[in-house]
């Protein structure tokens, strides 16, 4: 995992970006970005949500107007129109879960479309390789709409590789992609680089970023640091301590604490993630303190009990006889590769999919019919993989809507909106539209929406995918607080294996089968010395051989 890409063997500059700025109306997305990219180089963009990474990528790909100049090889361009000439050498994968896919086309039809669009010849061997890499080879006749979130992401990714670009631009390509596929993706990108390709890749996974040749750190519309991952990390080693703590002055995440003041804790080697925290501290940002008043909600010991739940789509078995017990006040992590059946399982528990086989008890009640669920609706909160917010409504209007759906009175609603927006730290964004605010804010207000009716259990499907590091750390502190102060039980899926450390227990699915169901501590004892990502890969490998 930690090995670097093969070192550069070329000094030729492929792309030069000079003083590029992009603005949308009054809002400046990126100001005076300048950098260059060598041939066969892989450049990483990191930075908080809304820091200007996407806008810079869009300017280079010639899909947005910009000020400044960009030179590709010897060709200078100042506008999207002038960039037309080089578009056959560039491939862009925009951010978002499978945004470039057509829901009603199959995987195979997508290949046909993109091949024709670019006027490519069919290259069986290469296409097969891409499909196999993405784990989509067996599913070629499946409609895009029926793919899991991560499968959609991987499909978009291999489609962007189809034209074998000279310059590959990927905007958070691995959001929602499982650790196994992420490793495979890097192999492919590395191989293509050896054949002469360069790439600019933005990512929210710092373990990935540390493998790139060079990294640019974006913050609030500016590039604030450039260098290799070692160089960036070296700058923060004085502020990095071992262990976690709760403090108003310091950030803690993933077994490290970052603080500008010196602490009595032991210093440790930082990771790239620390760059974000130290940067936030230097800008005098403080961790949000979630103040959630203690409450004692009435609930039984066992929240969910599932006996042999099964879901089939035609002949395909998405979930195969899953047994599950989910206890009061527990944070349960649901892990597994893309398409393993996590979302499907959650949707069965929620009654969004009919159950093909098996028994389900929610809050001690056997669930058989739709009517059984209606009663329980008010006890359950759900945030879907895509955050089902209404784009045309402001954040406040969205919350109003959710409250109305659950029959809250106007007074109650207003009080709740006020309380939650303060507690979860988004009160300044209440009148903004979802697309105007960073993903991390959307994520927190989606949780607020799910909490409006005071549920006793929360189902969260990949709430942290694509969310920046600082926001993720805040989010996990929020979940802990919800659990500790309200006693809410939380079932959560994630592809950040480090986040699994914050769960009490994990359930791992593989191809619709439950392969592990154990407490996190016990797994650490079983696999001593490994971090959770390594444990996960180990488990997946073991169960393969059986």
């Amino acid at each position: 995992m930690s090995s670097k890409f093969q070192a550069l063997d070329s000094k030729n500059i492929l792309l030069e970006v000079k003083n590029v700025s992009v603005s949308y109306g009054k809002k400046i997305a990126i100001k005076n970005a300048s950098f260059s990219l060598k041939e066969k180089e892989i450049l990483g963009f990191i930075g908080a949500d809304g820091a200007g990474k996407s806008s810079t990528l869009h300017a280079i790909a010639g899909v947005v107007s910009f000020d400044g100049e960009i030179i590709y090889k010897n060709y200078v361009y100042y506008s999207p129109k002038e960039a037309e000439k080089i578009k056959n050498e560039i491939s862009l994968m925009p951010q978002g879960l499978g945004l470039v896919l057509y829901d009603f086309l199959t995987i195979k039809e997508h290949f046909d479309f993109f091949r024709d669009l670019r006027g490519l010849k069919k290259a069986m061997e290469y296409e097969t390789k891409l499909l196999k890499m993405a784990g989509l080879y067996e599913f070629q006749d499946r409609l895009a709409v029926n793919l899991s979130g991560g499968m959609r992401q991987k499909l978009s990714l291999i489609l962007s590789l189809l034209p074998r670009p000279k310059l590959l631009i990927l905007d958070e390509p691995t959001t929602g992609v499982d650790p196994i596929s992420r490793a495979e993706l890097w192999d492919i990108v590395n191989e293509m680089r050896n054949n002469g390709m360069s790439a600019i890749i933005s990512t929210a996974y710092m373990s990935e970023a540390s493998k790139m040749d060079r990294i640019l750190l974006f913050d609030e519309g500016e590039i604030i640091a450039k260098g290799t991952s070692e160089e960036l990390i070296a700058d923060i080693k004085d502020y990095t301590y071992e262990g976690e703590m709760e403090s108003k002055e310091c950030f803690s995440f993933n077994k490290r604490t970052y603080c500008l003041n010196s602490l009595s804790l032991k210093k440790t080697t930082p990771t790239l993630e620390g760059v974000f925290f130290v940067n936030a501290l230097k800008k005098s940002k403080k961790p949000i303190i979630f103040e959630i008043p203690k409450k004692n909600l009435q609930m039984p010991e066992i929240i969910v009990k599932a006996n042999c739940l099964t879901k089939k789509f035609g002949k395909f078995i998405a979930d195969n006889c899953i047994n599950l017990e989910f206890k009061k006040g527990e944070i349960l992590g649901l892990l597994g590769a893309n398409g393993a059946g996590k979302t499907t399982l959650i949707k069965m528990l929620l009654g969004l999919y009919p159950i093909d086989k098996g028994e389900l008890y929610l809050l001690n009640k056997r669930i058989k019919s739709y009517e059984d669920r209606i009663e329980l609706k008010s006890k359950i909160g759900y945030v879907s993989q895509k955050f089902s917010l209404y784009k045309d409504l402001t954040i406040k209007e969205n919350l109003d809507y959710f409250a109305k759906m659950h029959g809250l009175s106007v007074n109650e609603t207003n009080k709740k909106i006020k309380d939650y927006s303060e507690m979860l730290g988004f009160s300044e964004y209440l009148n903004a539209f979802p697309k105007e605010v960073p993903l991390g804010i959307n994520q927190r207000f989606s949780v607020a929406a799910a909490l409006m009716h005071e549920p006793v259990v929360l189902f969260l499907d990949e709430p942290t995918s694509g969310v920046d590091t600082v926001a993720r750390s805040a989010f996990w502190r929020l979940l802990r607080k919800l659990k500790e102060n309200l006693g809410i039980s939380i079932l959560i899926t994630t592809h950040y294996m480090s986040e699994a450390e914050y769960c009490d227990r994990v359930v791992v699915l593989k191809r619709g089968i439950k392969i592990v169901d154990d407490e996190v501590e016990k797994l650490h004892k079983k696999y001593p010395g490994l971090d959770f990502e390594e444990i996960f890969l180990e488990i997946y490998k073991e169960k393969n051989e059986n």
Partner: protein, 362 residues
């Protein structure tokens, strides 16, 4: 222009339309409009230009004139004209209706004296409605029998069948509203979902994209020309006297105009629902008003007449009416002119679309 790009989009669009069931609407909506409106249009007629020729000058005749003057339905003028002159007024569209009260009418009433009523028949539905009004006033108010003759100014509809007037008028409405909304939705959908990036980031020209996106709705609706024509001829029994090719080509060009409007709508909207609403709103109103279904273009006031000439509906409808009911075709200079005006509309709209479409995030 590269065929592979157009092929890529065409295939994708057809698959998409079929799988998301939009194809059903593409064929169902025109059918429904034609059938519902064809069978069901009813109209209220007001401000009918009425000339009353009073040859009697009795108390009764004055009462009759009064009765007509005091409703919103008739704009009455009393004039002294001969029968021939009066008829000429209808034929030259100076009046919609003439009422002739014969000399000594009130004296001869008990012997069965009759009032002559002549109504402009060029819009049969309106004529029939008018006839009803007049009968109501005269028979209910005065218990007067009357022979009403409906005068056909243009001698279009000698058989006086309503369908003949309404059904061709609906072509201009349907082929303006439906292809425009389909085209607008199909383009805006890409913006809404995000797939528009495939166009932004690939080496495809704007023209290639526009052609690729407009061909499917254009072709799908071309099929509708034939479906609707068959219905008009066999379900509604409308005659077809003109040249089929003129009708067909004019319809294709008109559909092109409509998808061009859809293209423009898609440029200024960003959600499918907004695109649908906007394209329907801007097409349905002129589609109805200036189709000649509600009122004949020739009897419009000056302002609405100018407006009618702004929208392509009137030109197309003229050609359609000619094809169905008259059959002059290109023997009439007017028809040729209208045909070229339609072509100009199509070219202008699509050129504007090409100019305004941005191949970049706005």
């Amino acid at each position: 222009m590269r065929i592979n790009v157009i092929k890529a989009y065409f295939k994708k669009e057809v698959i998409d339309l079929i799988r998301n069931k939009m194809i059903i609407l593409t064929y169902l909506i025109p059918l429904m409009i034609l059938i519902l409106f064809g069978f069901g249009i009813k109209m209220e007629v007001t401000h009918v230009r009425t000339i009353i020729i009073d040859n009697d000058h009795s108390k009764l005749s004055l009462e009759i004139i009064n009765k007509f003057s005091h409703t919103k339905y008739f704009d009455v003028k009393v004039e002294n004209l001969t029968y021939k002159e009066a008829l000429h007024k209808i034929q030259t569209n100076k009046a919609d209706m003439i009422i002739i009260i014969p000399p000594s009418f009130s004296k001869n009433l008990y012997k069965g004296a009759q009032i002559g009523v002549f109504i402009d028949g060029s819009f049969p539905l309106r004529a029939v409605t008018l006839q009803g009004y007049v009968e109501k006033v005269l028979i209910n108010g005065f218990n007067i029998k009357l022979p009403i003759k409906i005068e056909n100014r243009n001698f279009f509809n000698e058989s006086m069948r309503d369908y003949n007037a309404i059904v061709p008028g609906l072509f201009g409405l349907i082929f303006l509203v439906v292809p425009a909304s389909l085209a607008a939705i199909m383009i805006v959908k890409e913006k809404e979902v995000g797939t528009i990036f495939n166009f932004y980031s690939a080496p495809i020209t704007k023209i290639e994209f526009i052609i690729s996106k407009l061909i499917p709705p254009f072709l799908f609706h071309s099929v509708n020309i034939f479906i609707l024509l068959i219905l008009a001829l066999y379900l509604f029994d409308v005659p077809f006297r003109g040249n089929f090719f003129i009708f067909w080509i004019a319809s294709e060009i008109y559909i092109l105009i409509s998808v061009g409007i859809g293209l423009l709508v898609s440029i200024i909207t960003s959600t499918q629902i907004a695109a649908l609403v906007l394209s329907v709103v801007i097409t349905i109103i002129p589609g109805f008003l200036y189709s000649g279904i509600l009122m004949p273009i020739s009897s419009m006031g000056k302002e609405s007449l100018i407006e009618a000439h702004i929208f392509p509906v009137m030109y197309y409808n003229h050609l359609v009416y000619d094809s169905f009911l008259v059959g002059e075709g290109f023997k009439s200079g007017g028809n040729i002119l209208y045909f070229f005006i339609l072509c100009a509309y199509a070219v202008i709209l699509i050129t504007l679309g090409t100019l305004f479409l941005k191949k970049a995030i706005k």
